[in-house]
């Protein structure tokens, strides 16, 4: 992410969370946090505890973030943020907490008088992580039609251009689903599982081979010593290696939701 992208991100983040932007230019931003945002990101639980007990007027903090300190002309006191900075990571985290579940309706653009019928979908963004002493991640965005059971890949990309709203437009109706959302989720999980089974797992074989070789080396060091006479560090060394090369597959859902669509 470039400084401009980060600036845009931060701007949208605070606006979306109803934090008023007091001052800004392209390289810094000064916002008034809401009470809720202060509690989430300012890390001062004792202040809020204290306030609750005394009943005083809450005074949420203001935050000044500098998104491009190289181009900033004025002398502004604030936190410098960049990709990888702790503050930005924290905002990413909050975004995730507040952007996990949606229910969206496609906006009807037909003339008044005609009715629009929307089809229900469940869309889920998955992240698969393969790890040993190295890692690799893949994103899958899947969507399932709750009427037909049809599944499409690249769901997020397909809907990103649509005009979606959190409430249904007038004169618009949606079909009741025939596949229950939880059942649909299970079907998507099965697609992911199938995908994993068909992936190339050379990486796991290679990790096992690395472990085998390292264990051989270790055995060589203690050659000629009976098992029961081997020191404790032999066992801990062996355990460390098994952990080092342990192959794991993890599936995590980033976010997802219910979508009522007419265009796909």
């Amino acid at each position: 992410m470039y400084p401009q992208q980060i600036h845009q991100y931060i701007r949208r983040f605070f606006k979306e969370n109803n934090c008023e932007i007091i001052r800004e230019n392209d390289h810094f931003i000064n916002v008034q946090l809401t009470v809720e945002m202060d509690k989430r990101i300012m890390n001062r639980p004792f202040y809020w505890k204290y306030l609750e007990s005394t009943g005083d007027e809450p005074n949420p903090a203001q935050l000044t973030l500098i998104t491009d300190k190289n181009r900033l002309q004025e002398a502004i006191a604030g936190e410098v943020v960049h990709y990888g900075s702790p503050r930005l990571n924290q905002l990413f985290q909050v975004t995730k907490e507040l952007g996990s579940f949606v229910q969206m309706y496609e906006r009807a653009t037909t003339q008044s008088g005609t009715q629009t019928i929307l089809t229900p979908w469940v869309g889920v963004n998955y992240k698969i992580t393969y790890s040993s002493d190295r890692t690799q991640e893949t994103l899958y965005s899947l969507g399932i039609n709750l009427m037909t059971g049809a599944i499409i890949n690249g769901f997020q990309e397909s809907i990103s251009g649509l005009n979606l709203e959190s409430s249904i437009s007038p004169n618009t109706f949606h079909l009741p689903y025939t596949i229950k959302p939880l059942r649909a989720l299970e079907r998507l999980d099965a697609v992911i599982e199938n995908q994993i089974q068909h992936d190339d797992h050379t990486w796991a074989e290679e990790a096992k081979e690395r472990l085998r070789k390292d264990l051989l080396v270790l055995e060589y060091f203690y050659r000629g010593i009976e098992d029961e006479d081997r020191p404790e560090c032999y066992e801990s060394e062996k355990k460390a290696m098994e952990e080092q090369y342990e192959t794991r597959i993890k599936v995590e859902i980033i976010n997802g939701g219910l979508f009522y669509l007419k265009s796909i």
């Binding site: 992410m1 949208r12 983040f13 979306e16 969370n17 960049h82 990709y83 990888g84 900075s85 702790p86 990413f92 975004t95 995730k96 507040l98 952007g99 996990s100 579940f101 949606v102 229910q103 969206m104 963004n125 992240k127 393969y130 790890s131 002493d133 190295r134 890692t135 690799q136 991640e137 893949t138 994103l139 990103s160 979606l164 959190s166 959302p181 939880l182 990486w203 390292d214 080396v217 270790l218 060091f221 203690y222 404790e232 560090c233 801990s236 060394e237 460390a240 290696m241 080092q244 090369y245 597959i249 993890k250 599936v251 995590e252 859902i253 980033i254 976010n255 997802g256 939701g257 219910l258």
Partner: protein, 511 residues
């Protein structure tokens, strides 16, 4: 292979479907997806960390080292770059990479006490890795990235506390302190579970090749065979490394070493001069008398005490006086006592110190530029300070025992007020003095790596001038022998580990 599913999202989804909780914002939903996409680690290979550290511009050799350690050495390595090439940066990059990839959650960093603050600062500020210094009252269960001094960590109850933790990565700085398997340090590290492990040292060999064997056996037992097989192949003579190529190859599998010339960075030159000096008549007389002592009295017959005295008298009469006076107390026979007293008498009468005069000459020729003098003895340090003061030259002392603030203060004084800094050996770790480019090795240590450490204080990234090094040695004394031995040790190092930058210059012998 078992797939680990996280059921968290499903539960949240159910709550929303049942109207028990509100749905989230579409904008944040999309922002979240975009962030995940930008953070995605799409390849087992390559480094993610530079992307997260736009403020840091690592040198190519540092990035390459990080990649090599992770991909070729599977996260277990000795980082052995020459002094001043930024081993801390390499270690930071590796730690950061593992944190980003989620392979390391907890890490323990063991360093000499004097370097703790430096590490905490670098990791926090340069790498945004929240790091804390281990203190007595801390509960390690709640500390993810912890820095502790080796001296503290190896003692109870800290030792037990540390063993009870599940650290994913262990980093040990100044790891050459682990060369001896009979020490508490070694035993402590040996029993530590090391999943990923980095040992940092510019000087993996200080005296002989067994030190490297011990270090590697700590990291990866068996890599060089066990002790018996290693000994049978490599110990024909302690200083004679046979089968170099084979050994070198094995070592290269677990060790990254860049010399200054490998880095592609333009380095200023090192001009090393070994300056042979002649004692004055009077000094010579005292030196000979001291050497004679071993025949006069059994108190002085031990090789070690004799060598100590000989080295001391080559440094200053003050250094020798302390030892001599101490040993005199142990003498019993009248002729021993009178002979010793005679030496002490002559010692007191010495009015010229050849080495100090030479050092003064060098300082004068430096034309007001900063000079560092390294000596092995506190007594010589004090003497030199006084000697220079009388000549109108202001100097500041520097010892390893100084507290952090005093170190900083002395460094500041040296930078701004004094022309000369006089440091003892223990002062040669962890201070960076790039603004100075004259180094006088007033006394020579037995160990060439100590010389390298000293030079590394000034000849490091950020040095803009050629660096002048003056090694002072008195002819026909023990210092001849020290020089010779230094050369032999440098030879061993270069055969096994790789080229060393000049330490001793033209004096190089063929080995």
């Amino acid at each position: 292979m078992q797939i680990e599913w996280s059921s968290e999202w499903k539960e949240g989804f159910m709550e929303r479907l049942e109207d028990r909780k509100a749905w989230d914002s579409w904008m944040l939903y999309n922002m979240c997806y975009d962030v995940e996409k930008s953070k995605l680690i799409t390849d087992f290979h390559g480094l993610q960390s530079p992307k997260y550290l736009p403020e840091l511009t690592p040198f190519p050799h540092q990035l390459e080292a990080a990649e090599t350690v992770i991909e070729r050495m599977n996260g277990k390595a000795i980082l052995a770059d020459e002094v001043g090439l930024g081993k801390t940066i390499q270690a930071g990059l590796i730690l950061k990479e593992y944190l980003i990839r989620g392979l390391v959650k907890k890490a323990l960093i063991l360093v000499p006490a004097s370097l703790i603050n430096q590490w905490v600062e670098e990791l926090n500020q340069k790498f945004h890795i929240p790091t804390i210094q281990y203190k007595k009252a801390y509960d390690l269960n709640y500390c993810n990235i912890v820095i502790a001094s080796m001296d503290m960590a190896k003692r109870s109850p800290h030792k037990e506390n540390i063993y009870a933790q599940d650290f994913d990565l262990i980093i040990i700085d100044e790891a050459h302190k682990l060369k001896n398997p009979k020490t508490k340090n070694y035993e402590f590290v040996q029993n530590l579970k090391k999943k990923f492990c980095l040992l940092l040292t510019a000087t993996p060999i200080q005296n002989d090749v067994f030190e490297l064997f011990n270090l590697i056996s700590l990291l990866k037992p068996g890599h060089l065979g066990n002790f018996e097989t290693f000994q049978s192949v490599f110990s024909a003579s302690k200083h004679n490394v046979e089968e170099d190529e084979f050994l070198k190859e094995l070592i290269n599998q677990v060790m990254v070493r860049n010399s200054r010339h490998d880095t592609g960075i333009e380095w200023t030159n090192r001009r090393v001069k070994t300056i042979p000096l002649e004692f004055s008549e009077k000094e010579k007389e005292v030196y000979d008398m001291i050497s004679e002592l071993k025949h006069v009295s059994p108190v002085f017959s031990g090789a070690f005490s004799m060598i100590t005295l000989q080295k001391e008298i080559c440094s200053s009469k003050h250094a020798a006086f302390l030892t001599l006076n101490e040993m005199r107390q142990k003498c019993t026979r009248p002729e021993e006592i009178s002979f010793t007293d005679e030496i002490i008498q002559k010692l007191a009468e010495l009015d010229v110190n050849t080495k100090a005069e030479k050092a003064y000459e060098i300082i004068q020729q430096a034309n007001g530029e900063k000079v560092i003098i390294f000596t092995e003895y506190r007594a010589s340090q004090a003497y030199l300070q006084n000697f220079l003061y009388e000549k109108g030259i202001v100097s500041v002392p520097f010892n390893g025992q100084f507290s952090k603030s005093k170190r900083e203060w002395m460094k500041q004084l040296f930078k701004e007020k004094a022309q000369v800094l006089i440091a003892t050996e223990s002062g040669s770790e962890g201070i960076n003095l790039q603004f100075c480019h004259h180094v006088i090795n007033y006394d020579l240590p037995w160990n060439p790596m100590k010389l390298e450490q000293r030079i590394g204080r000034v000849h490091r990234l950020g040095q803009e001038h050629d660096v002048n090094i003056y090694n002072l040695a008195i002819k026909h004394t023990i210092e001849d022998h020290i020089l010779e031995l230094l050369n032999v040790k440098i030879g061993v190092f270069e055969k096994v580990v790789g080229e060393l930058d000049d330490i001793l210059s033209e004096y190089k012998l063929s080995i």
